[in-house]
């Protein structure tokens, strides 16, 4: 699992997020910063889009367990959940 693999998935996330929610992300920074990557994954998962969900899962797998968030998994809710929809 190289950074190239992560970059390839990040690029696909870029395209999908741009299409689905008109959001632009920094793919290079996503590969370098786990914190930024986790935030992008939260946004992707909030879109209720199967492709985005799968890409997010794939990228998270590439990040490995060391990069996983703390055990409580109490990540703050992404505000993007409420873009264009309440429920």
């Amino acid at each position: 699992m190289t950074d190239n693999d992560k970059f390839a998935i990040a690029a696909r996330l870029y395209v999908q997020l741009r299409r689905k929610s008109n959001r632009a992300i920094d793919t290079v920074w996503m590969v370098q910063s786990n914190e930024y990557a986790r935030e992008v994954l939260r946004i992707a998962r909030a879109q209720s889009d199967n492709d985005l969900q799968q890409l997010a899962n794939h990228f998270e797998a590439l990040m490995g367990p060391a990069a996983a968030p703390s055990a409580s998994a109490s990540a703050p809710v992404s505000a993007s959940k409420y873009v264009g929809s309440l429920r």
């Binding site: 008109n22 998962r45 209720s48 505000a79 993007s80 959940k81 409420y82 873009v83 264009g84 929809s85 309440l86 429920r87």
Partner: protein
């Protein structure tokens, strides 16, 4: 003589259908009357007084909290105020003319003026006489009129969720006046007054699935289209101020709904008990269904989903509550949970309207589901009638079209006369500050 006609026991007949444009002056038309005190049931009256208070509790503070919790902080007070204001406004309209238009004999399309300013409603202690309405002959008419008033209040109050966060208060005031008189009163007459054209056809609506929820849902959708989207809709996150308020509001709605549905039996009897039971079952089933669907689709069950599911089940069981058994309630709960989830997500995206708090997605879709399923699941042993899906569909879609068309007309006229939307700057500042000069502490 007191005629005892339950509003839901009218059965379609060819003769009734043919007499669509006949007035209610026929000899067998029920008439408003008086009764001696000893003909009034203390038990029925006590229950109807209680039910009336429960239904009023649904709007203030139930709906006010339910909606206020879902809007942004800068619009919480204005959103809550809208429900409170509608309560006061519709009360006055109801006693002046609304009740008479809805619940007195007239034509199949509209009632008469027999109760203008409640003229003719009497309580004469010396003569031991009290007015009674033929739809609830064992309780004083004052109680019946007050019970129906609470329905007339919550229906337009529901619509406020569709145009939340962007309507001018002056436009809202005028809209509510015209909508109550030109849409709610006629539709209530069509469905609930025995001479109304839908009642004559045998359309079943025990507690207001058509009159309240389809009516408000259709109006809400048209409001969302005509007023347009909020500034930043689809680009910015509209984070709800406090979903804890929404949970409290939904809980008040759930409890108050026992008055709504069981109270619609107009008596403290076994049918009211069945209505209460199926109401609880449908609400619980729909809440669980919505949460399950949400978990399946998004890997999470949410508080807002649970509240929305419960309300969806309550909406859908409303027309059916005096006609179905527990199995029917379970089926309605499951179907309403799935359909209303779709209504508030997939259908909402497809329609493209900014129905802020999903009035159509939940009340419109839930009302349609309930109305149609009443035609399928009605048990003669409970309500005394068979359901007819075709008649139910005519009632549901007829109301949908009328409500939508009249709402569009009222809004277009008001837009021309006073303007519907606040300015972009006022919307950015929030309606609390721009419309009412108030705000929550930061």
């Amino acid at each position: 003589m007191i005629l005892c006609l339950n509003k839901n026991r009218t059965v379609m007949s060819a003769a009734a259908a043919m007499s669509f444009f006949a007035t209610a002056a026929a000899a067998d038309t029920p008439q408003l009357a008086t009764a001696a005190f000893d003909q009034i049931s203390a038990g029925d009256t006590a229950w109807m007084l209680t039910a009336t208070a429960l239904v009023l509790l649904m709007t203030i503070p139930g709906l006010a909290l339910f909606y206020a919790g879902m809007v942004r902080k800068k619009n919480v007070l204005s959103t809550a105020l809208q429900s409170f204001f509608v309560c006061a406004l519709v009360t006055v309209l109801w006693v002046v003319i609304g009740y008479s238009l809805a619940f007195t004999p007239g034509s199949p399309l509209l009632g008469g003026f027999d109760r203008l300013f409640m003229h003719g409603l009497i309580y004469d202690k010396a003569a031991s006489q009290v007015s009674v309405h033929y739809l609830a002959s064992t309780v004083p008419e004052s109680v019946f009129a007050m019970f129906q008033l609470t329905f007339a209040i919550i229906t337009p109050a529901l619509i406020t969720g569709a145009f939340a966060e962007r309507i001018r208060f002056s436009a809202l005031v005028l809209f509510m006046v015209f909508w109550s008189l030109l849409v709610y009163a006629p539709v209530a007459h069509w469905v609930w007054e025995p001479g109304g054209w839908l009642a004559s056809m045998g359309a079943l609506d025990f507690a207001g699935g058509t009159v309240v929820h389809i009516n408000a849902g259709a109006a809400g959708l048209v409001c969302a289209f005509v007023l347009g989207r909020r500034e930043g809709y689809g680009r910015e996150a509209f984070v709800p101020y406090n979903l804890g308020f929404t949970l409290v509001g939904a809980s008040l709605l759930w409890v108050g709904w026992f008055g709504f549905n069981a109270g619609s039996a107009a008596a403290a009897d076994g049918r009211a008990g069945m209505a209460m039971l199926v109401t609880q079952v449908a609400a619980a089933t729909a809440a669980l269904t919505w949460m399950a669907v949400e978990h399946f689709m998004r890997k999470r069950a949410t508080l807002l989903g649970a509240c929305s599911g419960a309300v969806a089940g309550l909406v859908a069981i409303t027309p059916a509550s005096g006609f179905v058994d527990v199995e029917g309630a379970l089926a309605i709960g499951v179907i309403a949970g799935i359909c209303c989830y779709w209504g508030a997500t997939g259908l909402k995206r497809a329609l493209g309207a900014d129905d802020s708090l999903d009035v159509f997605g939940i009340h419109g879709v839930g009302g349609l589901v309930g109305a149609l399923l009443t035609g399928v699941l009605a048990r003669p042993a409970i309500g005394g009638v068979e359901g007819d899906v075709l008649v139910q569909a005519i009632g549901a879609f007829g109301t949908l079209v009328y409500s939508g068309a009249m709402t569009w007309l009222i809004l277009r006229i008001l837009d021309w006369v006073v303007g519907l939307r606040v300015s972009s700057e006022q919307e950015y500042d929030g309606l609390d500050a721009s419309q009412h000069g108030e705000q929550l502490a930061s």
